[in-house]
Symmetry: C2
Subunit: 497 residues, 2 copies
């Protein structure tokens, strides 16, 4: 049986190799690919997706999975078997032609979205989105689902998550967030005129790279580049690529992009090497992944101790712009709560309302109660209802995110899950690591990084998300830790209310 | 039969898509890959090589090739069939495992070479080269050959070329080159003290990019990056990537790298779009490819008219360094003939002697009369015999080139073939394009580019190299055009002798 398991793993690693190639081609499309390369890149990615599907559903691998089913596997072997069986079962229900078509179409739809956003013209993007949605719905119905059809989408990104538990959780979040936003909006807004200046991007990059190194991201096993939309691509644990974007009008946008993506990157670099190329060596879910980026970006990067350490360095780089700006003013300045149009620029409090409206629209798209053509109007209505702001154009409204263009439906909720996981993990870390924020104030992050690595990263995919959160924090996922974190933080900034 | 041909082409394009992925992964390995990514990159490239081999030898494609054999194909269909049949016939003789092993091993051997060259230690590289050579010899013997075993290697890069014609040609070249080198070395050496200065690389890059644009390389369908060893990677006709390398101590090295690779890049961008992804849309051979890079680099980029146009611009960028330097001084300064250690930095006259000694050593490696362990000593001896210089260390000697590390044996002679083709094409272009060099003096290259495109690039692989040279120049390949070009040029620089 050992030889059969080894043959199984050999084939699984071959799938991982194809995945690494797909990962690099996709990364390149966002970073260095010449503009006109897109059509053939789409075809090449489609071919790789087809090959991946073909190898995953290869009768020899199907037979191996069947043979190993009753073999009494345990430990890592059982984990690897379980996830490959799961992926294979899904793949067997979807014809290769559909996989290739979807992959090719995603690349092209993404380019259409880039153009449409540039011109702020939803009508240019509408037919592409209709087609992508149609293809994704076809996949979902072929794969099948229990309960809500949205579960088929959700399960892609957050394995084992179900609407039946997710929806009440997000509803509880909404109920506690809305009054907090109201209270904060009524309170004094910390002034931050120093942010309204020019900050040359070359100096921003120096600062961002310094922070990236301090956080412990390994540039021997990774990179930092520039793209329109920041992302982290874990091509392999030895090749983890982050991107950010710079604007001379934004002092912290690129930096928080870097810290956020570094959180993802530390997870990827910290996955168990013994599981490389197999499910054991993979991340648990997008929600858990996002918890790592949010924790570093928000709980650390937007904390007062962090800036007590870094503001002097930042002031050296921007002496005129930050003259006389002290830590409290800076910290409260970068933590303004202000209902705004763009999700990725939103503060920690209003952010989740951006997610909730997308979550609702997606459910409508999936159950058919919302038509693609209605999206711009529904988007604007919900923005007004939830956040009290109305986008002046589609680029700042329904066209702002890339996700739907590449077929990522059911992905947004994992961002809010990430916030909830992050707060719960962070509360636990503070309990187990006395002096944690004092270390942050010294620019020392090794203790937290080692804790996250031991408790989360190095576990790979051995536990489900719900098992992991219970094992690490002793409790199932809830909204309390997140709300307590927000309430404490913003009471300190805005004063008690 | 039409439907069968279409299915054949569909499969051929799938192979091309895999090739595009391999191309990108290899390009990335030389440009942006994090240092520690190499091991998994090697595995990923190996897997892709295995998939490519598997699809090429897929029984369904074997059957298609058989069916189409007697189908009376003609024109482009016959060309595509002929080259796929040729590649398939080779591939069927080589087991997939050997293809994967070779691919993986090449990536690792390349990294070993990088390290060995850095430390100038041949002994570090020796076991890798022995293994690569052994694998390549195994491939050659499985594929089979007529006449010299070296033909099996040569045929990989210069289809249909044979030692029986190549060796006499290069011998004729050697016989005419050696006395020319002797005469020029005895003559006055144009002084070029202005080259021995610092030239900041950011300005070199401005100049190089300006020239690149002027030559007509399309940056919407291509890129220019930096790598240790300049190269051109034609990932697809819509995605052609050049690299160069900058040193502030070298004014023209990066520039000639750019012009050289742009010559390759114009060929790739000019291939017939209707043949994309098939043999018809591919280049003829490495020798023909090299003719394009050499023609632009040497016949154009190192010509007096070129510098009559560009020296004023270059002087604007380096006003202190080039103060008072006039065109004749500059032109003769960059065309010094001087026996030297490094092939890629060699002048046009001595360059081919670097190739000839590699050609001889490779023949020895292939027929077993030269052992890998003997290479450093034999290298140094031949350098002394041919060029009168002896490398002070292995980095400047036997370790200088990357080729052998990645298994490229039989590749070097295509560089000299490129020089011969280039001179013959260029003589013909001058005949057919009156005022060509006057246009160059105006910085106008469109006429030459269009001529090369029409006569060579847009032909794709429809003609064999020997057919193409005869069709374009009316004569088979010889050494006369090249020697006449050199003799004229250096008589103008060194005076008649």
């Amino acid at each position: 049986m050992n030889a059969r398991y080894e043959e199984f793993i050999r084939r699984v690693k071959e799938l991982s190799d194809i995945g690494q190639a797909q990962g690099l081609l996709s990364w390149d499309q966002e970073t260095y690919m010449p503009p006109r390369g897109v059509a053939l890149r789409a075809r090449s990615l489609g071919t790789l997706a087809g090959l991946h599907h073909e190898r995953l559903t290869d009768p020899a691998l199907v037979d191996l999975v069947e043979e190993l089913r009753g073999a009494g596997l345990s430990g890592d072997e059982e984990v690897n078997w379980r996830f490959v069986e799961r992926d294979q079962r899904r793949a067997l229900k979807v014809p290769r032609e559909l996989v290739v078509e979807l992959s090719q179409f995603q690349s092209l739809a993404h380019e259409a979205w880039v153009e449409a956003r540039k011109r702020s013209d939803f009508s240019m993007f509408r037919p592409w989105l209709e087609k992508v949605l149609g293809l994704q719905l076809e996949v979902a119905h072929r794969v099948g689902f229990e309960g809500s059809p949205y579960n088929a989408f959700l399960d892609e990104y957050e394995p084992y998550a179900r609407m039946e538990t997710l929806a009440p959780l997000l509803e509880a979040l909404r109920q506690r967030l809305v009054p907090l936003v109201g209270r904060l909006a009524a309170g004094r807004r910390p002034a931050a005129p120093f942010l309204e200046q020019e900050f040359p991007v070359d100096r921003q990059e120096v600062f961002g790279r310094r922070v990236l190194a301090d956080l412990g991201f390994d540039l021997e096993r990774g990179r930092l580049d520039v793209s329109v939309h920041p992302f982290c691509s874990g091509i392999s644990p030895l090749d983890v690529r982050l991107t950010t974007r710079y604007s001379s009008k934004e002092l912290t946008s690129a930096l928080f992009g870097i810290i956020h993506e570094a959180g993802h990157g530390l997870y990827e670099q910290g996955l168990p090497p013994e599981g490389e190329g197999t499910p054991v060596g993979s991340s648990v879910s997008l929600g858990i992944h996002e918890s790592q980026s949010r924790l570093w970006e928000n709980m650390i990067g937007r904390s007062r101790p962090f800036w007590a350490h870094y503001l002097p360095l930042l002031r050296e780089l921007f002496p005129d712009q930050l003259k006389g700006v002290e830590v409290d003013e800076f910290w409260s300045g970068i933590n303004q709560v202000r209902p705004s149009l763009i999700r990725v620029d939103a503060d920690e409090v209003t952010y989740n309302l951006h997610i909730l409206m997308r979550f609702e629209l997606e459910q409508g798209l999936v159950d058919g109660s919302v038509k693609v053509a209605e999206l711009p109007e529904l988007w604007d209505q919900r923005m007004e209802a939830y956040l009290g702001v109305r986008p002046p154009d589609a680029a700042q409204g329904v066209l702002q995110d890339t996700h739907w263009s590449i077929g990522l439906i059911g992905y947004f909720p994992t961002y809010s899950l990430g916030n909830l996981y992050a707060a719960q993990f962070f509360a636990q870390a503070q309990e187990e690591l006395p002096g944690l924020m004092e270390q942050v104030e010294q620019g020392v992050f090794g203790g937290l990084r080692a804790w996250l690595n031991r408790r989360i990263h190095a576990q790979g995919r051995r536990l489900r998300a719900e098992e992991l959160v219970s094992q690490v924090t002793g409790a199932p996922l809830g909204v309390d830790a997140f709300m307590a974190y927000l309430e404490d933080k913003y009471a300190a900034i805005y004063g008690p209310n």
